[in-house]
């Protein structure tokens, strides 16, 4: 029987971490992720977990400590946001290339400057090429579910890569909503014991980690890293199937909402997907064939699956809560459209950058995006490919 509760996103993540009971958590506080290590350190103080909690002096040190612990053979977790993630930057690449299955919650917040504590996706989008698997979450339930699945994905012997579980700062992290939790023993049984194949404290099989890798082998190691990411595509679905058996909640690379007969749709991530679902329902009442795709897995990128899922549409808007300053759309747009070149070339695609620095996204604004798409369908013409939503021009 699932446990019905009401929790904020950060509370849900802290509860999941208590149930996972990792060997090591190393973290440094930064708004809006601070509550995660704060709540978790209470569990440590109360003796509810056996975790070694390492209070460090910066996020660079937090990730370094996570790398050291995970390399030693410990199941390791952390959480951060924004500038904290930015300060981890060089260590993110080390974690991924050393194939260390660290699991980190990224509570999405805008990057400075100008200084801002509110939500957008510029922090985790900037880390998209660091070699970490990235899962995105619409609400507290998905944050909780994804964090538990992340352990299994990261530690799978064919993957062995770190995972970021990303959810919206304040909007999800600080909002209390209904949630269904699993019993502690079910979570423990689902994730199992961590038995790394190679680790530094294995005295019978001494190894070295992180040595100099010259041109003779570096490329092969990066190629193997890419192969692990490819394997992750399979493992993510396998873990999701098992999780569905346990909870009844279904996960894939992305969620297709009313897409079957849709003619227009938007592709979007995290909490605004929920707001947009409300708009889709309103449009459906008016007889408009509107749909929505919510990305869950951005790394690895579901190139073929997503491309095909968009092929029957007449027009699609891809919405980014981060700008890449390419003047040619945000990061999600660029990759989705690249997939569409192979699989959905007849579908017209437009880019919208929205909600930067916590600018609230209203249902009537999402409605204007669908109206723009319907206009494209009606005229057969794209007047403007690269757009901004909800900004004063």
């Amino acid at each position: 029987m699932a446990i019905k509760d009401k929790l904020s996103g950060n509370e849900a993540i802290a509860v999941a971490m208590r149930q996972i009971d990792p060997d090591v958590v190393a973290a440094f506080p930064i708004t809006p992720s601070t509550e995660v290590p704060q709540y978790f350190s209470q569990f440590v103080a109360n003796g509810q977990v056996h975790t070694e909690f390492v209070a460090v002096e910066s996020e660079h040190s937090a990730m370094s400590a996570c790398i050291g612990a995970e390399a030693a053979g410990a199941r390791t977790m952390t959480a951060t946001s924004s500038q904290g993630l930015a300060l981890m930057w060089e260590m993110l690449y080390i974690a991924a290339s050393l194939r260390l299955p660290i699991v980190m919650s990224v509570i999405n917040r805008a990057l400075s400057g100008p200084i801002n504590i509110h939500n957008d996706h510029s922090d985790s989008m900037g880390a998209r090429d660091s070699g970490w698997i990235q899962l995105y979450c619409e609400n507290n339930q998905e944050a909780y579910d994804n964090l538990i699945q992340a352990i299994r994905i990261a530690e799978h012997k064919d993957v062995q890569l770190p995972v970021m579980v990303c959810y919206d700062g304040f909007i999800t992290s600080h909002a209390v909503e209904n949630i269904e939790l699993l019993e502690d023993e079910k979570v423990k049984a689902f994730i199992g014991e961590y038995k790394p194949e190679h680790y530094l404290l294995d005295k019978d099989n001494p190894i070295s980690m992180g040595p100099l890798d010259m041109p003779a082998y570096y490329f092969e190691h990066k190629r193997a890293q890419a192969e692990a990411m490819k394997n992750a595509k399979r493992v993510i679905l396998e873990v999701a199937q098992e999780f569905e058996k346990l909870t009844g909640r279904k996960y894939g690379y992305f969620e297709e909402y009313k897409m079957e007969d849709a003619e227009v749709a938007i592709v979007i991530m995290n909490s605004t997907a929920g707001t947009a679902k409300f708009v889709v329902n309103e449009l459906r009442k008016q007889g408009v064939k509107a749909g929505l795709i919510k990305m869950r897995v951005f790394r690895p990128f579901p190139f073929e699956e997503l491309g095909k899922a968009l092929s029957h549409l007449k027009a699609v808007a891809i919405m980014d809560k981060a700008d890449s300053f390419s003047t040619a759309g945000g990061p999600l747009f660029t990759e989705v459209r690249s997939a569409m070149f192979d699989y959905a070339r007849d579908t017209k695609a437009v880019s919208y950058i929205y909600g930067l620095g916590g600018r609230d996204v209203r249902t009537d604004e999402i409605m204007t995006v669908y109206q723009d798409l319907l206009e494209i369908v009606r005229t057969g013409e794209v007047k403007s490919t690269f757009n901004y939503l909800g900004v004063r021009e």
Partner: protein, 192 residues
Amino acid sequence: MGRMIEIRWHGRGGQGAKTASLLLAEAAFDTGKYVQGFPEYGPERMGAPITAYNRISDEPITIHSNIYEPDYVIVVDETLVLAVDVTAGLKKDGAIVINSAKDPEEFRPLLRGFEGKIYTIDARKISVEELGRYFPNVPMLGAIAKITKLMDEDAFIKAMEKSFHHKFATKPHVIDGNMRALKRAMQEVKGL
């Protein structure tokens, strides 16, 4: 589909409007509803105007934007009526609840043409008399439960009692006072 109720709270930093919105979400959850309780974070300073929100529904809630056309507005500090456009977007058939010793109609001229219902509750008097200190949250919650009829009154009182036992586990002596404040507020709302 069940109706979704949207509530906006206006308070000042440190008065507990955010906590009140979370307590309301908790009580509504305990009576079987789908809930959201969330603050709008700004520069966090004691005394600065703050806003918090609730959505309460019989169906799952997916919207994650702020609330622009609330059914109810709750003003925890009556000086905000002059400082903030508290009735902005408030539905015509909606209502505003103000923490004040005044009569509801005294606020009508200050509410920028708002035509809907106005209620007042003297949360300070109730709190000081029942708890010996000024904590406006519990009386405000009692008033809003009474006015919105969102939850069955007895179920609401039971849910709050349960929540107090949890919240005040280390200081059980304050539970009775809070329960008295809650019940009194439900009787003493003006404008019903």
